[in-house]
């Protein structure tokens, strides 16, 4: 996942100079200068697209091809048509992984957004040591997912973990769906809440101040101003934050793998917290059923596209 937000889709307008330059070859004249103006731009942007063709388009297409076969890494490769998909749709283990992925996503994202909103609002007040505070809430983002998983697996361990000690409970957090989901959601939220708060804070600071001044003159309390001005003005940014969380959440992998502690990819004894990404890796690289894994990867992609589409429709409605 990208650490920083994407920029708008519209390219900035080329300056008038650039436009004029196209029609006016430089004094050197001739074929070279025409190539310099017409051809070089494509040359400059080509590395990205070449790399994307090899490491983006090719894998997507090839995954689709593999998914239509009974495909073993070194063995048989026989045509199955939609056989893998048919099997997958009837595979309870796959749907369990889908359910886990969506469940953990919701459990992590909803509190995270609320907390990020509150945190951003607090960071937007006048106070000293603002840089320190901002760096402080961003620190978890710098910590790798693997490190987060190691630390929190220990904090959530049954006998010697701080969480059980604080709660006075003897819970084996890995054992049940609800408890493993909570532990994993806590890891995700710890790492991402501060980042989302900083993004929301940036958006908050672009809200015109006279909106608040006018509201204050009308006697609106700070709480009312927050819900009536800040939150509505933040909606586009919220949609962006949800968008990023969706992609990250649906491809969840490292946290549950490290939480499990062994590389079995089963997500607990009965798959309590096996995510779709874990399912793909398990089928492909532990059971060596590449075709089946590829089909699961494509269904995951479809899931993400659906998530993105819902997001997009939501954004359009807001505008």
């Amino acid at each position: 996942m990208n650490i920083a937000p994407p920029q708008p889709a519209r390219p900035p307008r080329p300056g008038p100079q650039a436009r004029r330059a196209v029609g006016r070859p430089s004094p050197g004249g001739g074929r070279w200068s025409r190539f310099d103006l017409r051809g070089i731009p494509y040359l400059l942007v080509s590395p990205y697209y070449l790399l994307f063709a090899v490491f983006g388009v090719f894998p997507l297409g090839y995954t689709l091809w593999i998914s239509l076969h009974d495909w073993e890494l070194a063995g048989d490769k026989s045509w199955l048509g939609l056989g893998n998909y048919a099997e997958l749709v009837a595979d309870a283990e796959f749907w369990n992984a889908v359910g886990n992925t969506l469940g953990i996503f919701v459990l992590a994202t909803v509190p995270q957004l609320l907390l990020a909103l509150m945190l951003a609002n607090a960071l937007n007040k006048r106070l000293r040591g603002r840089l320190i505070l901002r760096l402080g809430v961003l620190l978890p983002l710098v910590t790798s997912v693997v490190a987060v998983a190691v630390i929190f697996s220990q904090l959530f361990s049954r006998d010697y973990g701080l969480v059980n000690w604080l709660l006075g409970t003897p819970i084996t957090w890995q054992n049940e769906k609800w408890s493993s989901w909570i532990a994993i959601a806590v890891m995700i939220d710890w790492r991402w809440t501060g980042y989302n708060a900083i993004i929301l804070l940036a958006a908050m600071q672009t809200i015109p101040r006279d909106l608040y001044e006018a509201a204050a003159i009308d006697g609106a309390s700070p709480r009312r101003q927050f819900w009536r001005i800040t939150v509505p003005m933040l909606r586009p940014t919220m949609v962006f934050v949800v968008f990023v969380s969706t992609i990250g959440g649906l491809t969840l992998f490292a946290e549950p793998v490290m939480f499990e502690g062994n590389p079995m990819m089963t997500g607990g004894t009965t798959g309590q917290y096996q995510t779709v990404a874990m399912f793909v890796v398990k089928e492909g690289f532990r059971d060596f059923d590449m075709g089946y894994a590829a089909a699961a990867a494509w269904l995951l992609f479809v899931l993400i596209l659906l998530g993105t589409l819902v997001n997009y429709l939501f954004t359009r409605r807001i505008r």
Partner: protein, 274 residues
């Protein structure tokens, strides 16, 4: 902007404490013994065993921890340099040159950013690396990470505002070729933006887990997979695991503290334009 109330201040203090505590805890554990780690309540103050734990970590042969650190530095460094180069070239073209199809190409990048390549591409990329005979080698990790749409977008945006059109125009009048303009006019003006992009890409690459786990062999890991190996083979040796984890995040923390102001600034600037 209102003044912060007492409740706000307390809330922020709690948030800061929650952010910092797990990291603090990790460093504490790295200085303790395994017996301490099993105390209830767990220890909250540093002990004096850091040196011993580091020695034990480095002596654990199946983790190849030093190799992992070195490999991560090579991978993240190479990826960062390449992504910055690719992104500034493309950013310059998109922001300051006019050519048919520019809009379409740039829009395409946004679409590519939605594809979770790491997960989707795992199976075919692995087959590709097998057929090239590159599995277990660092280039197999590096190459797929060079596809970074975010970098191109960020740099397009940055060039547009950091390089005045007049400057490009003046260089053209002087007879400079496009590549010369890139090298002598554009690049010098981009340094701050390049630094932010470089830091973000370095952190992201340093922290990658899934793809290196699949394509590298356990005896030639990156630091993240080395920790995963520690976790599965020596999971009960908590303090060694924590020592490795602490060592793996320390380089990033140093960079983060040194360049914190720029990173926060860069993130917030990017967010406003989104």
């Amino acid at each position: 902007m209102n003044r912060a109330t007492i409740t706000t201040r307390i809330g922020l203090a709690v948030a800061l404490a929650l952010s910092a505590f797990p990291i603090y805890y990790m460093f504490i554990m790295a200085t303790r013994s395994n017996e301490d780690a099993l105390d209830t309540p767990p220890p909250l103050l540093p002990g004096g065993l850091l040196g011993e734990n580091v020695e034990r970590l480095l002596a654990t042969e199946d983790a190849h921890f030093l190799t992992g650190l070195l490999n991560s530095a090579v991978v993240a460094g190479t990826v960062t340099l390449s992504v910055v180069a690719i992104s500034t070239l493309a950013g310059f073209a998109f922001a300051k040159l006019r050519f048919p199809g520019a809009r379409l190409l740039l829009g395409l990048i946004l679409v590519t950013m939605m594809v979770p390549l790491q997960q989707m591409g795992v199976v075919p990329l692995y087959e590709l690396m097998v057929s090239l005979g590159w599995t277990g080698q660092l280039k197999a990790v590096i190459l797929p990470f060079l596809v970074n749409g975010f970098g191109v977008f960020m740099m397009t945006q940055y060039v547009a505002q950091a390089v005045p059109d007049e400057l490009v125009e003046a260089a053209r009048v002087d007879g400079a070729a496009t590549l010369g303009i890139y090298w002598r006019v554009v690049l010098p003006a981009l340094r701050p933006g390049m630094a932010v992009l470089a830091l973000l890409v370095f952190m992201q690459t340093w922290n990658e887990f899934l793809w290196p786990l699949i394509v590298l062999n356990p005896d030639n890991p990156v630091v993240q997979t080395s920790i995963a190996a520690l976790n599965s083979a020596h999971g009960t040796d908590y303090v060694m695991l924590f020592t490795g984890t602490a060592a793996s995040v320390l380089p990033l923390f140093v960079v983060f503290v040194l360049f914190g102001r720029q990173i926060v600034g860069g993130l917030m600037e990017g967010a406003v334009k989104a």
